[in-house]
Symmetry: C3
Subunit: 357 residues, 3 copies
């Protein structure tokens, strides 16, 4: 996958077309008249005659050797990180969890444990996780389903689960000392309710939550409509869970370059379910195409609106539909720039949307 | 009131029905098939057969004595804080201020003083207050009213009042050295204007404001419509003023457990007027029921929307209507979790909505 | 311009009507019955009989000499800063950039350099700037225009430009190592695309961006509609670019008192294009009049809404129309009060809207 990354000297070579990312890039670069100019700067002062997308070096370059060397050094760090993307790490969060059906009830089992989690290559962090995933496994049901969540606490701390956005009976609300006692280490607690309302919801710890949610006790809880025609249609969907605690700035539990790219075929409608489980806002910015925002906290907006930067506050969920009509590899990142890039290159809340031609 | 809190050993006993909170809790817990199981964990490994809401301890428990003791210790801190709620403290802010009528003018008197304010039991902070209240007293008028606000400054610092959201003549705008001189210690300044527009507004210091508003010189200024039918109807209302300065994270001048619960009868429409007088966003999350957001900064939204988490930025006011259709005691808190809970338990921007059956 | 500022002793004198600001103030103060009372406090305890806007000193004053002296001292700092407004500084950002037309293409030239920038009088900061402006020059085109941007990098670091909000071919997207190589010191890179969609957009560095955008590599990119009747009409317009990095809290590259006032004639519709290039939210609050919010990120909202405080997140643009129907000089500032005022007076994200009668 690293082949899609353009190194300075190997720019043309890198576009030889392996894999989705390379294809997407090649398509875009084809719109340049002379991409071959890019791999070696042509030394001309007449930049106005240059073709768009080509680079020329001025006479000043030779006089600036040490400046150039410093710039090259910094750029090498940036390139190195980009080449790693999408980097392999141990563990993958947000994987679908299959329920067991018992007398018509969908039973999901969650086991909370202390573990180590690889946020980006080689960076292991202390985590609290459901089913050894950060975020925990995706729970997906249909409105009206009878749902049972069996939580087994194998951690060192007590815990409890709040179903954020779901409308449940009070006793199933998961707030220790208000609606239930805490679930102690070694204990099991069972939640049961009818799934409602439709939409993009979450589940997470509501005990010592500033620590436990930060360390990974969170996941997506999606309630699909019985009648899909009641919601806008889409061709594929992604969930993007934002977090910003002791694990750093993460998308679905990973930091760039270990984040996963989103992909779409040209013309697809892509639903992105944004969920913020962190303690800061994250204005997510997609390059190349607007997003149509259709729902807030699961509820359809009476009037969807368009944007390219969507501010997502802690606890909020927003559903966006992207018409993937612009081919290429598009940066998709938090626009608090210090959550996405440092002088050592991109990190944290960065991924891409690849629109395949 | 602490009776509504469920201790581990006294869970069932706690639900014996004293007071509103206990009633609310008992109702919810009644939806559990066997709440009596909760008070003492049953030692079975067959958690799948457990009734929803019941706790079981695994064989691992005995091997984890020290882990369990540590968890119990932390939980005891959480329980202790919860049991204190709603805790008594000296002073109550946001109390209605009765105007004197002079020649058809509604005259409100505000006296600003330096004082000590009890934010939570035993935590006294330096405050600047109107009429010895933090937030200052609620000013409530009807659109078109002729209003006079007499500010007497008995503090050590100069000050001035800005009527945030109200449309006043420029000279009444309260910005020292732009629209008026500062009101010096010992002086009095009189503001006079016609109340408009309708909505949830605020008044606060506009002099050395980062300090003075943080220390308490702020209050709600509500302009009611002449014709109530021009606005959505509701059965009861609350104002929730957020602040986050040197007093810590507060709702109406108090930190949990000294915050006040909101109560409603089942079926009530509850209007909540959120007002942010702090320097940070606070995404307020209500458990158990959505909020319909009907107005921003006093202005009716052309298209109200639903949510369960509402991001409120400094200076903003949002009006929410909650249909209290889900009985129980529901957590209501800022979803920046570090504003609501620490390893020592809940604190800061936490309260509950009690829906009485 | 400093004449519009009211000093305590020279309050009446200051209103003698020089310049726009003084005129605006005089108009508002005329609504006071006895503005002449303001210049010297009348020593009466009967403040209830006082006319609105007048100041009286109590008997307590004489006993509070040292308190009063301390208050006077602080107020003097506040007044001094206010009197400086609008302060002259070297350099002005966001100036219109005239394109050269080549074969029907609008060609804009941007030269990025390292420079010193005066943020407020005497405070020079290290900057990276396009065409020696912070923000860079305003690029303004019409939808459908063929646009060429020639970037010459004369800085010590590599760079690249992302056209934030514009829909371009992928190769013109400006993200080093995804869509192009970085533009090295001494090199030139040419971007070319058709301008779309209509709206308030931005351009900024997308290389080491947390540093480069913070230091000034950013500007407004406005795409006007071919058919103006497709957008709400207005009489005059302003762009307000927010930033909050190493230069402090700035509006269009300057901190108060070096910010520029906005002016309008009574009855004007004023379009304000808010753009956040910083890393924090900035809820901008206008005194005296509401703002009608008509577009987000360039896209017209299906249902414009009214507010007096607009929360603007990093990367967002919001278009507001203000009906300037309230004469006077109105504070216009970020409502995170610590971005606007300290105990030494106003600073940072503060300006005024002057509505001339």
């Amino acid at each position: 996958m690293a082949k899609f990354i353009m190194s300075r000297r190997g720019f043309t070579a890198a576009l030889s077309g392996f894999g989705l990312l390379a294809t997407a890039c090649a398509t875009n670069v084809a719109s340049l008249s002379k991409p071959e100019n890019v791999s070696e700067p042509s030394h001309t002062g007449d930049e106005h005659a240059m073709t768009a997308g080509a680079v020329s070096a001025s006479d000043a370059e030779s006089a600036n050797k040490s400046v150039r060397e410093l710039a090259d050094e910094m750029d090498a760090h940036h390139e190195e990180r980009m080449k790693m993307f999408p980097a392999k790490t141990a563990g993958r969060g947000n994987q679908p969890l299959q329920p067991r059906i018992e007398n018509g009830v969908k039973v999901f089992e969650l086991v909370a444990t202390n573990m180590q989690w690889e946020v980006e290559p080689g960076r292991m962090v202390e985590a609290m996780a459901y089913n050894e995933q950060v975020p925990g496994p995706e729970i997906r049901v249909t409105e009206g389903d009878q749902v049972r969540i069996v939580l087994r606490n194998e951690m060192k701390d007590s815990t409890a689960i709040h179903f954020h956005g779901l409308v449940t009976p009070n006793a199933m609300d998961g707030v220790p000392f208000i609606t239930q006692p805490p679930v102690k280490p070694g204990e099991t607690f069972t939640y049961e309710f009818v799934a409602k309302p439709v939409g993009s919801h979450m589940y997470h710890s509501h005990h010592d939550s500033a620590k436990q949610v930060s360390l990974g006790l969170l996941g997506a809880f999606i309630v699909e409509p019985k009648d899909p025609s009641t919601r806008p249609s889409f061709d594929r969907e992604y969930t993007m869970i934002l977090n910003d605690g002791q694990h750093g700035y993460t998308l679905n539990g990973k930091s760039f370059p270990a984040t996963e790219p989103l992909t779409a075929k040209l013309g697809d409608k892509v639903l992105v379910r944004f969920m913020n489980e962190g303690m800061m806002i994250h204005p997510m910015h997609l390059h190349g195409m607007p997003m149509q925002i259709i729902a807030k906290d699961g509820y359809l907006l009476p009037q969807p609106f368009y944007c390219d930067t969507l501010n997502i506050a802690p606890g909020e969920r927003w559903d966006a539909i992207i018409l993937a009509d612009n081919p290429g590899t598009w940066a998709f990142h938090c626009h608090i720039l210090s959550h996405a890039e440092s002088s050592a290159g991109m990190f944290g809340m960065v991924t891409v949307l690849i629109v395949e031609p």
